[in-house]
Amino acid sequence: MKDKILLAHGSGGKLAHELVERSFVKAFDNPLLAKLDDSAVFDFSGRLAFTTDSYVVSPIFFPGGDIGKLAVCGTVNDLAMSGAKPLYLSLSFIIEEGLPQSELSEIVVSVQKAAQEAGVEIVTGDTKVVHRGSADKLFVNTAGVGMISEGVDISGGNARPGDKVLLSGTIGDHGIAVLSQREGLSFSTQLESDCAPLWSLVAEMLSASPNIHCLRDPTRGGLATSLNELAKQSKVSIRIEEEKIPVREEVLAACEMLGFDPLYVANEGKLVAIVPDEDVDKILKAMRENRDGKDAVIIGEVRAEHPGRVVMKTCLGASRIVDMLAGDLLPRIC
């Protein structure tokens, strides 16, 4: 049974140490982790951002990524959305007994690659193994710290009437890519998850202008949910135009087939930015020069009336409300 993860691998004994040293420390190769102390210790001065997220995506391997890449990018992006340069991550695995070692190794390689691309180090972690049936193959938690430069103040409550709303690229790619693998819904597509670390994009936007008011990455719940959150936090309304929102043909097709609205489908490599009108052109230019913002567009603006509401101008020129996602996205026949 050498090729499967056993309960013993999580119990702190020899097998557990072997796993940590042979797989994790070797892969993540940095002085802080190599110490293998109970905590990673480092010096710091300045404003820190601190975030955590747990990842339970199923299946754990999907077109364009896996749970490991997602766990790094998701937390790195949460830091980036506060304008924080990501520095260190913690990494915790909860493994269902019986998970093939080869799959865990593949995930670890993925984590390492994503961390390298994002410029972060994995400095501390934990491994637990649970009985079969107590976890869906693998759950991952990452927490991250990052550093915010002087003069940067990005928060969901900062949007002001007159601001413009920017979107970094096409919506719905991740959600549909993952859905294409689900039992009972299978369809084939070249579509891949857009999972990507966004700090380099945010850094370039901040270089163009530090006056970014809000940043949000529209993950679960999609663009619609993020815009609603921002509208409520800032007590403003957001008005967007349907025609301006970029959607890939495959995403549109899958949404049409299953009865979804792309506005509610998850993204893992996109951001929404709310910026003052006078800075929008230079920020947009900076976005389009970055790999993760090449399709960036202005999708709308912030208004004072009807605070908390998101309104969309449809292709007919009429207006309709865009609410938050209620419950799960379920495919429908009607």
Binding site: G184, A253, T314, G317, A318, S319, R320, D323, G327, C334
Partner: protein, 362 residues
């Protein structure tokens, strides 16, 4: 996307809207029967662009919304029988029955699988020979032929553990019941598109002939609805009442003969209970004698328990077009998409859901 993008072109919408405003002089009330049309109307804001002479009301064409509580309770009861897998379209998962919903019993451990197609349900049956797979047969005439096909396929492949709980409903009889009740005065009907793909346009003729109401069969893109309204206005202003097909690319007057043949081979009409409307003769489908071994009602001892209707819920009135969601005391308060009381709020094409999500009064 071919056949979709062309029918969303804004410049063509402008032309239609302009023509409707010019031609519509008589105040009228049009009903869209079909839930899919309700979604298009709300999603694109079509009510906003129509002139004040046109009042729109939604009908009961949402097969989820009109499924009686007792039938939902049967589905839930089936999921509690050991070695039964309930396979269902996604639409049904959240609808509240008398005590619970399929989503809730699934969370409690019941074997409920969501599927996109009966093809997937048949595969589940083949992969689980020791279990019985019961497919929840909901939907109108668009969907019934696909369930009929799945039963014939199960027969061909010798699949003995596949069953159907037939909750299918037929549209023309319920339209007659609504018109007979005289509760809602209509001057035009937007006829269902994909139901008509199967049954053709002839079954709607009784509406124009016996009730003098203009009928136009519409597609599901915004331009389709606008074109349909334009054609209804033309009939009204010319004092005509006949059945026309606007959705010519998807509907022929004679319908899909092969689909009708399969449906008629496997099913026969029976009386059916429509939530909010009551029992309507010949408006449901049950499996014919030769196919009774696929009938879940006969194969299993279903004990749905006592039926309760939610207090204060006026889904029935809304389904008949007599009241709007704004008239409901529970709307937006006790009844929201996250905590639905009645089916009109759960189903993505229920009136209440459309009103709530897209801002009906907006």
């Amino acid at each position: 996307m071919k056949f979709i993008s062309e029918f969303r072109r804004p410049e063509l919408a402008e032309g239609l809207i302009s023509q409707i405003h010019r031609e519509s002089k008589t105040p009228v009330r049009f009903m869209e029967f079909c839930g899919g049309h309700t979604v298009t109307i709300f999603r694109y804001g079509i009510r906003q662009v129509l002139p004040p002479t046109i009042d729109m009301v939604s009908g009961p064409g949402c097969p989820i919304c009109v499924t009686a509580n007792v039938d939902l309770d049967k589905a839930i009861a089936l999921s509690q029988i050991s070695d039964v897998i309930v396979a269902t379209f996604g639409d049904m998962l959240k609808v509240p029955g008398s005590r619970s919903s399929l989503q809730e019993v699934k969370a409690d451990g019941a074997d409920v699988h969501m599927v996109y197609s009966t093809m997937d349900a048949l595969r589940i049956a083949e992969d689980n020979p020791a279990k019985s797979v019961v497919f929840l047969g909901i939907g109108f005439e668009t969907t019934a032929p696909t369930i009929a096909a799945s039963i014939l396929q199960a027969g061909e492949k010798g699949i003995r553990n596949y069953y159907v709980l037939s909750l299918h409903k037929l549209c023309p009889p319920v339209l007659r019941a609504i018109l007979d009740s005289g509760e809602v005065k209509l001057h035009g009907l937007i006829c269902p598109g994909h139901v008509s793909t199967i049954i053709g346009s002839h079954p709607w003729e009784f509406i124009a002939r016996d009730y003098g109401i203009p009928c136009v069969v519409s597609g599901f893109e915004p331009l389709d609805i606008l074109q349909c309204v334009d054609m209804l206005v033309a009939q009204v202003e010319n004092n005509e009442s006949r059945v026309e097909i606007a959705y010519r690319r998807g509907v022929r007057p004679e319908g899909n003969q092969q689909a009708l043949k399969l449906m008629e081979r496997v099913f026969e009409p029976c009386s059916a209970e429509w939530r909010g409307i009551g029992e309507v003769p010949d408006s449901g489908l049950r499996l014919r004698k030769e196919y009774q071994h696929f009938d879940a009602e006969l194969a299993f001892d279903i004990e749905p328990g006592p039926t309760y209707e939610p207090v204060g819920c006026i889904c029935g009135d809304i389904l008949r077009g007599v009241k709007t969601p704004a008239d409901c005391q529970l709307f937006g308060k006790a009844c929201t998409p996250e905590h639905p009381v009645g089916p009109c709020m759960v189903s993505s094409e229920g009136s209440c859901s459309a009103y709530y999500l897209y801002g009906g009064g907006f």
